[in-house]
Amino acid sequence: MKLAICHLYPDLLDLYGDRGNILTLAARCRWRGIEPVIQKASLGEDLDFMGMDILFIGGGSDREQGLLVQDLMRRENELRKAIENGLVVLSICGGYQMLGNYYQMANGERINGLGILDVWTIAGAKRLIGNVVVELDEKGSRGNSNKYRTMVGFENHSGKTYLGEGISPLGRVLFGHGNNGEDSGEGVRYLNVFGTYLHGPLLPKNPHLADLLLELAIQRRGVDTSLMELDDCLEDLAHKAMVKRLLKQA
């Protein structure tokens, strides 16, 4: 079996070790005998969203983000269709903001997003930086297969993101700031689209989340979904070390 994983614009959006997420998805496929087919898509390249299994959109610097919102706008329809069809999307930081309705800059000017997620972002006065521990909701969990209910990572954003009615966050912040530093929510899930501020290598240390994405992608294909369990001894150690350290501080 093959899984098509697309890393959107890695030449523009590759801040903070984003490629760690792709490496993790690919390795966890290979260890289970699934062949990952990685597409590193560049600006202007042909994209077949419907044929993809997992789409990853990372974060970039402001200038580079501006360039590609334009490029994505042209493809908005196809992307929306694929998402309604169950395409698995992981969007982080800038990628997360772009899928929302708009980004409002400090001077009040609004940059339109794709409007796929009913969220909006307002430039904040100070950057929200640091380690994060989130307690995941049902929506971010694999039900009984879950080893833990937490998600750990690092955030660094000045935009504050707010969620529309009827759309809920991925989980509740136990340590750190999250979406906006105000309502203790972090991230969002809509259909199989995941948005979060935990940038860079989110999946290596959150193997349950990586497996949730893989599971959803396989489900969409209509294949039997039971994922082979892997030896996650190191993953668990890395995850738990941070949970323990941060919650002790809190």
Binding site: L15, L23, A27, F154, G200, P204, L234, L237, A238
Partner: protein
């Protein structure tokens, strides 16, 4: 400029604190600098006026300290007296402290020349008060983004704050640095023809995939490392400037780095081709200051690497190389150097995430550890230590290093024991810590080296027999 009562108060307070620190056996320029700046925010401007032969500034992401030390070695060869902020005290406080140390109680400077390493994020503040006669810009890489914001901003800030009359000594091979010469009065470029590691294609993490001027893609005919190479913009025609100082015939030999500029062969006791750029930067600045090649050659040759920059230690059981790691490009270069050693490898990596290390360790995923995965057979063990030991081990697992070879050990002494406790024939050891682990680890290694020397020679011979 008229010196006010504030100046004298700040100077004397700074000097008294410096003396106080010396008496209590501490070195330090940061505290005196901090207090002096608090009393007189203009003190750096006042003090810097005394350097009639000029102020040389060294900035950039990687290689500032090594470049400044190499240039200092040349200046000493030439018999020059100069003010110098050693030991990487490169923020406003540390720089002020160094200038205070070099100024007498009477306010007169002991030297007419200053050599100052300036942190890239401090350059705007520094140049507000001080007008450097010469500025060396080494390179720009992603480094601790959580502290500085994004790289683009840093580069723009540094570029915007350099005075028009400053002579720029620029790395021609780094597009982010080379662009500083556009529309600047006087710029001198140094560059590299090729190194044995130069390649037509690059798999590394790269900054500056796009032209800093027009945003079009940059085309490369050769990559030296990172974004350093022979480049040309596909849009506006911006290209790698022709270097006045060009290194040819670059190679390594027995821990030495050799290269030729014009007809002279230079050598430095450093490993890794990134150090070639540091030597070239120092050489270019020294030529610009009017020194002869003979003096420069000796200055570079007699240079002894400072703490934790490819520093070597001898234990009875074998040789250890200790080097600081702090960002993807630097780490990639260290990996390249380790693989180049062509021996079985024992590696100890120490990752902390305190403020001085950078709180965000995401950058570990931008390091090309996959290269270690490719040479997996050569790796005997990787000991991971530090607050983020688990993250480091996990990174290596995904890079293809087999889990059996990964050792987690949080105690530093224990980690060193795991590294040197057993070895394969001819195994080379590398210790790679982030900043706050560098000195604690170095101390332990030094102690081992000392006690090995003190123990009788018989024990040493036995050790060598065991190796043979």
């Amino acid at each position: 400029m008229k010196r006010t009562w504030r100046f004298w108060l700040a100077l004397w307070a700074g000097k008294i604190i410096t003396m106080g620190l010396l008496v209590t056996g501490k070195k330090g320029t940061t505290l005196p600098g901090k207090i002096a700046n608090w009393i007189d925010p203009q003190i750096m401007r006042h003090l810097s006026g005394a350097y009639t032969d000029g102020i040389i500034m060294v900035t950039g992401t990687n290689g500032k300290t090594t470049t400044a030390n190499l240039l200092a070695s040349i200046l000493r060869q030439a018999g020059k007296v100069f003010a110098f902020n050693q030991a990487g005290a490169n923020l406003v406080t540390g720089i002020t402290g160094a200038l205070i140390q070099n100024t007498g109680w009477n306010g007169l400077s002991r030297a007419s020349l200053a050599l100052l390493e300036v942190d890239e994020a401090t350059v705007p503040k520094f140049c507000e008060h001080v007008s450097p006669s010469l500025a060396i810009v080494t390179n720009f890489f992603r480094d601790q983004l959580d502290r500085y914001g994004e790289l683009d901003t840093t580069v723009r800030m540094v570029k915007g704050s350099l005075p028009k009359e400053t002579v720029l000594v620029l790395n021609a091979d780094d597009p982010l640095v080379a662009q500083f010469g556009t529309n600047h009065n006087q710029a001198i470029y140094y560059g590299v023809e090729r190194t044995p590691d130069s390649q037509g294609d690059s798999q590394e993490t790269r900054e500056a995939r796009f032209c800093p001027g027009c945003g079009a893609a940059l085309d490369y005919t050769l990559f030296h490392y990172g974004q350093l190479g022979i480049f040309k913009c596909s849009g506006c025609g911006f290209h790698r400037p022709e270097p006045e100082i060009l290194a040819k015939d670059v190679h390594q030999d027995e821990g030495l780095l050799l290269f030729q500029v014009d007809e002279v062969v230079f050598r430095i006791a450093l490993q890794g081709y990134y150090n070639l750029y540091n030597a070239l930067a120092a050489l270019t600045a020294a030529r610009e200051l009017g020194f002869k090649d003979k003096v420069i050659e000796k200055g570079l040759r007699v240079f002894i690497p400072q703490a934790g920059r490819m520093e070597r230690f001898s234990l009875p059981e074998g040789e250890i190389t200790l080097t600081l790691v702090k960002n993807p490009t630097g780490f990639d270069q260290v990996i390249q150097t380790m693989i180049g050693v062509d021996r079985p490898l024992g590696i100890l990596i120490g990752i902390n995430d305190l403020a001085a290390d950078g709180r965000d360790i995401s950058w570990l995923w931008d390091v090309n550890f996959e290269r270690l995965g490719t040479h997996e057979a050569r790796i005997q063990k990787v000991v991971c230590t530090g607050l983020r030991a688990e993250d480091m081990a996990l990174r290596l697992k995904y890079a293809g290093v087999s889990v059996e070879k990964l050792i987690l050990e949080h105690s530093l002494a224990g980690a060193l024991k795991m590294l040197t406790g057993s070895w394969a024939e001819g195994e080379a050891w590398f210790i790679l810590p982030t900043y706050t682990l560098l000195f604690p680890l170095r101390e332990i290694v030094e102690d081992c080296q000392k006690s090995a020397r003190l123990s009788n020679s018989g024990a040493k011979e036995r050790g060598e027999e065991a190796r043979a």
